[in-house]
């Protein structure tokens, strides 16, 4: 035992990956793509049904999210209570998500109950009844939750941030106001449903222990109406126009912390620079050992956590630094964030640090493909953008080959400090 040298890290290495498999693609009902990820050891099924029906597809901010929510509140065959009880009886879980671009319904179920639970989902998507009583209850309850969220400095800053970087009237910038809850009606939801929850606007991802039986259940039972209108295309997209004022402060009395957002619009996943920008972001604030965490948390103790992210919407992306900091450290924290961004532009980063970031990202890369649930998330993140799994092969090659000089160059290209917006909510 005395020969054990605890000062030196044991050897480590990275295995060669096999070629990443593309999910099998099956066409359902003449035109709906179903992507099949058959993996794992447990008898589980995750089925995600995705529609291009996010909040940007309607002029009212809340239409998309409530259309999606109301699918669970009643069909021509089942009322709200029956849907909830039947899904629970088979132990199934349902998630509704609605973003700026997309809406989805995701079913988590044991394989042995797939036929039963899937039938409920098809009923929801084919025969929704949009019942008025449930609608007013759900609307009022979400309004109450909205009021609570509006009180949080983090939410105030996040909303203001999207408004200033994209423009407060833009589809990626605008946010719901309390008054929106009063002006939403069932007719809007019904119209939205008819327009966008259609077979020409849908794709599905299924993952887990996917048997031939499960596929044939879907093939024989999944139908959606054809939409009257044509699918919305990128050509209609109007590019964002940020606010002319760069710095915004939202005061709130009596707070012990302020929320900070610093960032701007950038390219999205479809642009070849995106992987490079992701790596720059990781160095700055994308992992626990990042420069922002090392400086603001581990060195100065200003915050419990601070990070940065590069996020994609379908037509544009954005970069953001986000965190909550002690109110008395608000000004100092903002200064240190700019300092760290500028340091990426003014200095060539040490090779040792870049190696650590690369290895961390390669580890993350393996985690992206660990098990059917992870693979389905990973695939979803590209298929929405018209990309496939080769995106990840390219990303991995960029990680392996990027140099410190490139990190600096991409930081200069995208993160010029004079182009950044700053939103602070709280106390200065």
């Amino acid at each position: 035992m005395s020969s054990l040298n605890r000062k030196i890290q044991p050897d480590y290495c990275f295995m060669n990956f096999d070629e990443i498999k593309q999910p099998e693609k099956i066409i359902i009902s003449g035109e709906i793509p179903l992507y099949v990820i058959n993996a794992g050891t447990e008898d589980i099924v995750k089925l995600q049904i995705i529609f291009d029906a996010g909040s940007k597809s309607d002029s009212h901010n809340l239409t998309a999210v409530f259309t999606n929510l109301m699918l669970c509140e009643g069909t021509k065959n089942r009322d709200s209570k029956t849907i909830a009880e039947e899904l629970d009886y088979y132990g199934a879980y349902l998630q509704n998500n609605c973003s700026r671009d997309f809406a989805d319904i995701t079913l988590f179920t044991l394989g042995k109950y797939f036929a039963k639970t899937f039938e409920i989902i098809t009923d929801m998507l084919n025969n929704p009844s949009f019942p008025a009583d449930e609608f007013s209850t759900v609307l009022n309850n979400k309004k109450q939750k909205f009021i609570v969220d509006e009180d949080k400095v983090r939410i105030k800053a996040a909303k203001k941030f999207s408004e200033v970087i994209f423009g407060s009237g833009h589809v990626y910038g605008r946010n719901a106001r309390i008054s929106c809850f009063g002006s939403l009606g069932l007719q809007q939801l019904k119209g939205f449903f008819k327009r966008l929850y259609s077979k020409n606007n849908c794709r599905m991802i299924i993952s887990g222990n996917i048997t031939a039986d499960i596929i044939s259940i879907i093939e024989n039972n999944f139908f959606l109406a054809e939409s009257e209108s044509v699918r919305e295309e990128g050509g209609l997209y109007e590019k964002s126009q940020g606010c002319s004022e760069k710095k915004h402060f939202i005061p709130k009395d009596g707070v012990s912390q302020s929320a900070i957002r610093i960032g701007k619009t950038v390219v999205n996943k479809n642009h070849p620079d995106y992987p490079y920008l992701q790596i720059v972001n990781t160095v700055l604030g994308g992992y626990f050992g990042s420069r922002l965490m090392a400086n603001l948390r581990e060195d100065k103790g200003y915050t419990y956590g601070i990070g940065s992210a590069v996020v994609s919407h379908l037509h544009e992306g954005y970069f953001t630094v986000a965190g909550e900091v002690g109110a008395i450290n608000t000004v100092d924290s903002a200064r240190e964030i700019y300092y760290e961004i500028e340091r990426l532009q003014n200095e060539i980063m040490p090779l040792e640090e870049l190696d650590r970031v690369k290895n961390y990202m390669l580890g993350e890369y393996i985690r992206l493909f660990d098990g059917p649930l992870a693979v389905s998330e990973t695939f979803r993140a590209v298929v929405d953008y018209g990309l496939d799994m080769s995106y990840y092969t390219t990303f991995r090659d960029v990680i392996n080959n990027i140099t410190p000089e490139q990190v600096r160059d991409f930081a200069c290209k995208y993160l010029d400090v004079s182009s950044l917006y700053e939103v602070i909510s709280g106390k200065c």
Partner: protein, 411 residues
């Protein structure tokens, strides 16, 4: 079925391995049987502060995170009232980096003064972020001392007083380490693409020479049975009234524990639950309501928490909650019981598709007495009858066993 093998080193460290060859990764989990319940009442928040210090460098290794990141790993940790738990996931071939790091910080910390100073500040920011700067964030800071009069669950893991954190000295840190961070007070569990034999060999290599130390005293005074309703009114600048009703419930290994867990699902676990259907969707008294258990080793709580629709009074809301519970006692059916058991099955099967969940689950059950419980829990839940539900509602969900907070909105 989660297969595992178990071994124990001479210094008392228990090692559990689950081999899963379908993943390229491995998860390493180290559980220390120390949490906020083991703290001195004058120095609360220490177990959690200590968790932060465990990342500030150990006796032979200046940084915990950097070598792990070099090996493609990620890690995190959490502290509860009962345990402190650390974990890493990384490519299976690089497992030795995790064992090297975990064993060195079990051997001894570097006791770096700069780390103590910084982490005191970080923890205070965490306290502000989680408890002070969120609407309703301080409920648990008040609920604990209401529901517990004797037992150390009366304070939160973050601590009872900021001064306990700011006043932490290096001597206290050292004392805490030697008292609790002892191989015989820890469980190492590993799940992933590796054989049990290989893990046992590597565990011996890295952890085998850590000396056995004497662990602190575990004897805690049990919380006495509650005999009368306790109430607290809080007034805050929040948008809506919230009511919390917390019932004392028995300890983790008590025969009634699982029944009460099931009751919390029946009453307030999701969209088909009794409280949600009756009070949110039908009577529209609450905009949100749920119930859950705290899941503690010692006597825990079943908590009902709901946000009122403006216009309803606390007394109406409270009466409605109790009448839904009484109705559950009178009308519970086998079908309804099967429903929550089926949900428990799905949660279990989905939860164990993840190697980290398997590793931490094995360690947790071993801490309770037997890692094998990970495979028998579900059967135990299946055995619960409608009669058990009726008995436990009558015995535990009674008004004289309730701790009630009316959290009043000033706006």
């Amino acid at each position: 079925m989660i297969n595992f093998e178990k071994s124990e080193l001479k210094n008392g460290l228990k090692v559990i391995v689950h081999s899963d060859l379908t993943t390229p990764l491995v998860a390493v989990n180290v559980l220390y049987k120390v949490g906020a319940r083991n703290e001195n009442p004058e120095r609360t928040g220490f177990a959690h502060l200590f968790e932060h210090l465990m990342f500030g460098g150990s006796v032979n290794i200046p940084s915990f995170d950097e070598p792990l990141q070099l090996a493609g790993g990620e890690n995190n940790a959490f502290t509860t009232n009962d345990i402190t738990n650390y974990h890493e996931t990384l490519p299976a071939g690089n497992i030795e980096t995790a064992l090297w790091l975990e064993s060195d910080r079990m051997l001894e910390l570097s006791f770096n003064p700069k780390s103590l100073e910084t982490q005191r500040n970080v923890v205070i920011e965490e306290y502000r972020q989680r408890y002070l700067n969120q609407p309703y964030g301080d409920i648990w800071l008040h609920l604990r001392p209401l529901a517990y009069k004797v037992h150390p669950y009366r304070w939160a893991t973050i601590g009872a007083d900021e001064a306990h954190i700011t006043g932490a000295t290096m001597d206290m840190v050292k004392e805490f380490f030697y008292k609790w961070y002892n191989p015989s007070n820890a469980i190492l569990s590993v799940a992933g693409n590796i054989s049990p034999g290989e893990v046992f060999k590597l565990a011996g290599k890295w952890f085998g020479d850590i000396p056995r130390r004497e662990t602190g005293n575990f004897n805690l005074t049990p919380e006495p049975v509650q005999t009368e309703t306790r109430r607290l009114m809080l007034e805050r600048n929040v948008p809506a009234d919230v009511i919390v009703v917390a019932f004392q419930m028995p300890e983790r290994m008590h025969k009634d524990y699982k029944t009460i867990d099931i009751i919390s699902d029946l009453s307030g676990g999701g969209k088909s639950s009794r409280l949600f259907r009756s009070l949110v969707m039908e009577k529209k008294i609450f905009s949100e309501i749920e119930s859950y258990i705290t899941g503690n080793i010692d006597k825990g709580l079943l908590v009902v928490e709901g946000r009122l629709i403006p216009g309803f009074s606390f007394s109406e809301a409270e009466n409605e909650i109790f009448s839904v519970i009484e109705d559950l006692r009178l009308t519970i059916s086998e079908t309804e019981l099967d429903k929550v058991k089926n949900k428990a099955e799905t949660t279990t099967v989905f939860g164990y598709t993840d190697i980290l969940n398997k590793a931490s689950g094995l360690a947790y059950f071993e801490m309770l007495g037997d890692a094998g419980m990970i495979n028998t829990e579900l059967e135990e839940y299946r055995k619960i009858t409608a009669g058990d539900i009726k008995y436990c509602i009558g015995n535990y969900l009674r008004i004289t066993n309730a701790n009630i907070i009316h959290y009043k909105a000033l706006k």
